[in-house]
């Protein structure tokens, strides 16, 4: 009978409950996406740092140190009358040391995205520099190297070098770029998006909880009258509590299902199109989302329940 009461009650209040679920679900999308993006960002950084260690790019004049790692020799040259910075190095070693760099295509030349844009070069274009002809692969590093064109070559006089270090902090301020910071710069935009979404999500949570309570109050007269009828038939407050609790548990379940799948989709979309990475999901996210939902629906349920306890049956029958 309890099941029947709940199903029929939910169905009869669909017009009220659907906006409630939408309000909560949208909030959950935002909260979930903000949390997932934040977590995924941190997870990617942690994973890469764990895999490669903290690396450091040393720039001239630390040539001795530069020779310890992957040496890079930078010189100015021309391409179709345009001045470009050509860097000689081992491209494979360079990429190995820079796991956070995004490289599109294979080629003789690795063209930084800024210089590619300036020279109107696309991935796979054939180019000739210093009498050497080859195809262009494109590099997006988020660092000064986006201004360089790299090619494999013998390095006689390294002006830059990449090294591994257990304590990268010691190089800070001495013409060094710390790789962990470089990796983070790539995801900085995601971090900002995540933070912004979290702020919106927190505001949205408050708005959603208020929406749910207000929508519940719209139905309060009818609901109180219904509880009055239940009580006139001999129901105790506890039994009414069970009816409300079960009803709102069903609503929470639906909202959590829609909210979690929506937030997974939204965060996957953002991460996929902005950074090309996948999402990281953990039980903490699920608990967070579940808590918000239960607070929202629980507040509405408790509002009814306490109102129901406060009034005499005769007042409830009048729909106070």
């Amino acid at each position: 009978m309890l099941k029947k009461i709940i199903i029929r009650s939910l169905r009869s209040r669909a017009g009220l409950y659907i906006p409630m679920i939408i309000a909560i679900s949208v909030t959950l999308w935002l909260i979930g996406a903000a949390v997932i993006i934040g977590d995924s960002f941190q997870a990617v950084v942690d994973k890469q740092m764990a895999k490669y260690g903290a690396n450091v790019i040393l720039k001239s004049p630390s040539k001795d140190a530069a020779r310890e790692g992957v040496p890079i020799e930078v010189r100015q040259t021309e391409r179709d009358g345009e001045s470009v910075r050509l860097a000689l190095t081992s491209i494979a070693a360079l990429l190995d040391q820079n796991p956070a760099w995004l490289v599109r295509g294979d080629g003789t030349f690795l063209v930084g995205q800024k210089v590619a844009s300036r020279l109107s070069l696309e991935q796979g274009d054939q180019i000739t520099i210093d009498g050497k002809t080859g195809r262009a692969a494109l590099l997006k590093s988020g660092t000064q190297f986006d201004e360089y064109i790299f090619t494999n070559g013998r390095v006689d006089n390294p002006s830059l070098g990449l090294i591994r270090s257990e304590s990268p902090g010691q190089y800070r301020g001495s013409n060094a770029v710390i790789l962990s910071e470089m990796v983070k710069s790539r995801y900085a935009v995601l971090q900002s998006v995540g933070r912004l979404m979290l702020i919106i999500a927190i505001l949205s949570s408050i708005a959603s909880i208020a929406t749910v309570i207000n929508l519940a109050r719209v139905d309060a007269g009818r609901r109180q009258q219904e509880f009055g009828i239940f009580k006139s038939l001999g129901s105790t407050g506890g039994r009414i509590g069970r009816i409300i609790g079960s009803e709102y548990l069903v609503l929470s379940g639906v909202a959590i299902l829609i909210g979690v799948s929506g937030s997974l989709g939204l965060s996957w979309g953002i991460l996929h199109f902005v950074s090309g990475t996948g999402i990281e999901w953990n039980i903490g996210n699920a608990l967070y989302i579940t808590t918000i939902t239960l607070i929202a629906f629980g507040s509405a349920g408790i509002t009814y329940y306490t109102a129901s306890k406060r009034h005499m049956v005769v007042e409830e029958l009048r729909g106070v």
């Binding site: 009978m1 029929r8 009828i229 038939l233 407050g237 005499m312 005769v314 029958l317």
Partner: protein, 225 residues
């Protein structure tokens, strides 16, 4: 037996019911009459345990109903009382049968066969699957009566049960109450309709919350006991 002793209900400075007493035996039908605002509904609500009096006592047999806490009152309502309201107060999303079974659910266990039997008693077995919105006013009131009697209570309280009904339905409803009285139930009915007083055992008249005419038999009983 239900005994009402010096019952008074005040809402702030307004006295809705003033020192009213009565005794209703099993198998008796009481009619409560009086103009609007005379305290009829207040009296029924207090006897039903839907409200608490300011002063006075209500006894069901030897137990003092007015001393019960909220859970105790809920138990009293589900085990001893069947209430019929003027506005029917059916749950609009449950069918006639489910409305009757709802009372069984709060009482103990829903029994479809018993609920159908209650509907049959009020001539609505064939309308069991209909929602209240699909029933006429008279039919809704009969569903409310079926719901009130399905747990076999000793006391039936009806507040203006025919107030919204046409003559035919009114007659049908009062016949049901009469049958219940004949079956040994105590039936207390609030009404404006003088025609309904013909067969009653006691007529309680209220005015400004006070009982204005006394039933001779009851006076004698109270003096004796």
């Amino acid at each position: 037996m239900i005994t009402v002793e010096n019952l008074t209900k005040e809402y702030g400075s307004v006295t809705a019911l003033d020192d009213v007493s009565l005794i209703a035996e099993p198998g008796e039908e009481l009619i409560v009459m009086g103009p609007s605002g005379s305290g009829k509904t207040t009296l029924v609500n207090l006897i039903a345990g839907l409200d608490r009096p300011t002063r006075g006592r209500i006894l069901m047999g030897d137990s003092v109903v007015t001393d019960l806490d909220n859970d105790g009152l809920a138990r009293y309502r589900r085990e001893h009382v069947g209430i019929v309201f003027q506005q029917f107060h059916l749950i609009d999303y449950l069918t006639a049968l489910e409305n009757v079974m709802l009372a069984q659910y709060f009482h103990s266990m829903p029994e479809k066969a018993d609920a159908l039997q209650s509907l049959e008693m009020v001539g609505l077995k064939d309308r069991a699957g209909h929602l209240p919105s699909e029933l006429s006013g008279g039919e809704q009131q009969r569903v409310a009566i079926a719901r009130a009697i399905t747990n076999d209570p000793e006391l039936i309280l009806a507040d203006e049960p025919t107030g919204n009904l046409d003559e035919e339905n009114e007659h049908m409803v009062m016949e049901i109450f009469h049958t219940l009285k004949e079956a040994g139930k105590t039936v207390i009915t609030v009404t404006h309709n003088r025609a309904l007083t013909d067969r009653c055992d006691q007529l309680i008249r209220l005015k400004h919350g006070r009982r204005v005419t006394e039933d001779r038999n009851q006076m004698e009983r109270m003096a004796a006991g």
